[in-house]
C-alpha cells in the first residue's frame, strides 16, 4: 500500500516538474513554431543560479524570484541577439540550432560548477508528513504548488491578457497575424522569456527534492519531450497533464519491469503517439499545409 502511495506522490511531484518544463516548450511552439531543445539547459541554469543565491544566504522566495527573472531575461536576450533574425524565416532551422544552445549552456554550467551533484542547504523546511502511508516532504509540496500556480497563471494569461490573445492569434495563423499588425518578433521574445522563466522554476523545483544534479536536470529536459507529445505540442494545460501521465507511467514501469526500461518505454510511447496521434491527448490537430 505504502509503495503505491509513495509512487503516487512521486508521480505527482515528477509530473509537475515535467509539466513546468513542458509549458515552456508549448509556449515557444505556439508563438514561433520552434521546438526548443534548450529547455533543459535553461533548467540547469536556473538550478545553479538558485544554488548560488541560496548558498550566498538569500532567503527562499527572493532567490526564486531573482532566479526566474534572471533566466527569463537571459533567455529573451539570447533570442533577440542570436535567434531573432533567423527564427522569423525558419522555425525548423532555429529548432535544430537550439540543440547547440543546450550544449553551450550545459558546458558553461559544467565549467563553472562541475558535473557532480551539489547539495542545497535547507532552504525549505525539511519536515515531512505522512499521508496515507506515503512520506511527503515540504519540498514536494512546494514543487507541486509552483507547477500548478505557474500553469494556471499561464492559462489565464493566454486566455485573457492582450499579449496572450496575440500569442493565440500568431499560433492560429502567423501570416494573418502579421497582416493584423501583430509583431511576431515581440511575441516570440515574450515567449522565450516565459519559457526561460518556467524552465528555471522547473530546475529549482527539481533541485529542492534532492540535490542540484546536472545530469538529472538535463535528463528531465529531454524526458519532457515524451511528456509534451503526450499532452499535445502547443497546449499549455496539456503539458502539465502529459507530465503527470508520463510520470505515472514511468513509476509503473519502474515498479513493474525495472528502472532500466523507463527511458525505453517513455520514448516508445512518444513514438507511438507521434505515429498514431501526433496532436497528443489535448492538442489541436495540426494542419499540415502543402
Amino acid at each position: 500500500m505504502s509503495v503505491v502511495a509513495q509512487a503516487v506522490v512521486g508521480t505527482i511531484v515528477t509530473g509537475s516538474v515535467y509539466g513546468l518544463v513542458g509549458v515552456g516548450f508549448a509556449l515557444l511552439f505556439r508563438a514561433s513554431k520552434v521546438l526548443s531543445f534548450a529547455q533543459g539547459g535553461f533548467m540547469l541554469l536556473g538550478a545553479f543560479v538558485f544554488y548560488s543565491l541560496v548558498t550566498g544566504g538569500r532567503p527562499f522566495l527572493p532567490a526564486v524570484l531573482v532566479t526566474m527573472i534572471t533566466v527569463a531575461a537571459f533567455s529573451a536576450v539570447v533570442y533577440v541577439l542570436i535567434f531573432a533574425r533567423v527564427a522569423a524565416r525558419e522555425a525548423f532551422a532555429t529548432s535544430v540550432a537550439t540543440i547547440g544552445l543546450a550544449g553551450v549552456l550545459q558546458a558553461a554550467v559544467g565549467i563553472r560548477y562541475g558535473t557532480a551533484p551539489l547539495s542545497l542547504p535547507d532552504v525549505v523546511s525539511t519536515r515531512a508528513f505522512r499521508i496515507l502511508g506515503a512520506v511527503v516532504q515540504v519540498a514536494d509540496i512546494v514543487a507541486v504548488v509552483m507547477a500548478v500556480t505557474v500553469v494556471a497563471a499561464l492559462v489565464l494569461i493566454l486566455r485573457h491578457s492582450q499579449i496572450g490573445l496575440r500569442m493565440n492569434a500568431v499560433a492560429d495563423n502567423a501570416t494573418l497575424a502579421v497582416h493584423l499588425g501583430i509583431s511576431s518578433a515581440r511575441i516570440a521574445t515574450v515567449a522565450w522569456a516565459l519559457a526561460g522563466g518556467t524552465a528555471a522554476l522547473a530546475g529549482i523545483a527539481f533541485s529542492l527534492r534532492s540535490a542540484v544534479d546536472p545530469v538529472g536536470v538535463a535528463n528531465i529536459g529531454l524526458l519532457a519531450f515524451p511528456a509534451i507529445i503526450l499532452g499535445g505540442l502547443g497546449s499549455v494545460g496539456g503539458a502539465l497533464a502529459g507530465g503527470l501521465l508520463l510520470a505515472g507511467i514511468q513509476n509503473a514501469v519502474r515498479i513493474g519491469i525495472g528502472a532500466g526500461w523507463v527511458d525505453f518505454v517513455s520514448f516508445a510511447l512518444m513514438l507511438g503517439f507521434l505515429f498514431f496521434r501526433p496532436s497528443g491527448l489535448f492538442g489541436k490537430a495540426e494542419v499540415v499545409r502543402l
Partner: protein, 272 residues
C-alpha cells in the same frame, strides 16, 4: 509524337463532380462540379483564396475530397497517389517555382520521367548532360527543353533563372510528367507583362498538339484569350461555367471581381 496523337483519339474526359474539401476544419471547396473535354483548354479564374489551386490539388491526389468524385476517363483519380498521376498522363505545373533552387533545369524536367524502381533509377541518366547527341535524344527531358527553346538553360540551377524561364521550365516538366492532361497553375504569376508572350505562345503550341489543359490564372485577360471555356469561382464555389466572354460578363463574376479588388494586392505567397 505518334503515340501522343493516338492517345488523343481514345478521348478522355475529366469530370469533377460535387467535390467538397475540408482542411483544418474549414470548408475550402463546396460542391464543385465541372468537366473538361478532351483537347480543350479549360480556364479557371477567381480571386485570391478562391480555391483554384485546391481544385488542382484534388485532381492531382494531393488533397482528398471529403465528398464528391473525380474521374478521368474511367479512372477514379481519388484512388491514385500523386506520384502515379503520370501513369495516367496527367502533368502539373506549380503556382510558385521557388521550391526547387539547386536543381538545374534539366534535372527538374528529368524528374518527370525518373523511374521509381531502384534499378531503374540507378540506370537513369536523363538528368545528365551527355556527350553523345544520340544518347541525349532518347531523353524526354532534353527534348522538352528544346521544344520550349530552353536548352541553353539546361545546366543552370533554377535559382539563377528569371521567373519567366522558371515557369517555362516547370511547364516543360509538366509536359514530361504527363503530356495528355496538363494542369497549369498560374503560369504567368510573377512574370512581367512583356514576358507573358512566351508563355502564351507555349500554351498555344501545346493546344495545337491536342493536349487537354486546365489553366488557372489571376489575369482574366490572359485566361480568356487562351481558353475555350472558362469557369469562375469564389469562396470555394463555382460561380459560372461557359464561354469566356459570357462568363466574364455575368453579374456574379463582375461582382466578385469588383468586391475583391480592394485586397488583391495583399498577395500572400501560398504554397503550391
Amino acid at each position: 509524337m505518334n503515340a501522343d496523337s493516338e492517345v488523343k483519339t481514345d478521348a478522355r474526359r475529366l469530370r469533377v463532380d460535387g467535390v467538397d474539401v475540408d482542411l483544418g476544419g474549414v470548408r475550402i471547396l463546396r460542391g464543385v462540379t465541372f468537366d473538361v473535354r478532351p483537347g480543350e483548354v479549360f480556364g479557371i479564374v477567381g480571386p485570391n483564396g478562391a480555391g483554384k489551386t485546391t481544385i488542382l490539388n484534388v485532381i492531382d491526389g494531393i488533397v482528398r475530397p471529403s465528398a464528391g468524385t473525380v474521374r478521368y476517363g474511367d479512372v477514379d483519380l481519388c484512388r491514385v497517389r500523386p506520384h502515379d498521376m503520370r501513369k495516367h498522363g496527367i502533368g502539373r505545373s506549380l503556382q510558385s517555382t521557388h521550391y526547387f533552387r539547386d536543381l538545374t533545369a534539366l534535372q527538374l524536367v528529368a524528374l518527370g520521367e525518373l523511374p521509381n524502381s531502384i534499378v531503374g533509377a540507378l540506370r537513369f541518366a536523363g538528368h545528365r548532360k551527355r556527350r553523345k547527341a544520340q544518347a541525349e535524344a532518347r531523353d524526354k527531358g532534353m527534348e522538352a527543353l528544346r521544344q520550349f527553346g530552353l536548352e541553353q538553360y539546361a545546366n543552370r540551377p533554377l535559382s539563377e533563372l528569371s521567373s519567366a524561364v522558371q515557369k517555362l521550365v516547370d511547364i516543360a516538366r509538366a509536359v514530361v510528367t504527363g503530356g495528355e492532361l496538363l494542369l497549369l497553375d498560374e503560369p504567368t504569376s510573377g512574370v512581367s507583362g512583356h514576358e507573358r508572350g512566351g508563355i502564351g505562345e507555349a500554351l498555344r503550341r501545346l493546344r495545337t498538339l491536342g493536349r487537354t489543359i486546365v489553366l488557372i490564372d489571376h489575369d482574366p485577360g490572359f485566361v480568356t484569350g487562351n481558353c475555350d471555356r472558362l469557369m469562375a469561382m469564389n469562396f470555394g464555389e463555382v460561380l459560372d461555367v461557359g464561354l469566356p466572354d459570357e462568363v466574364m460578363s455575368s453579374e456574379a463574376v463582375k461582382r466578385s471581381y469588383l468586391g475583391e479588388s480592394a485586397n488583391t494586392d495583399v498577395g500572400i505567397e501560398r504554397d503550391l
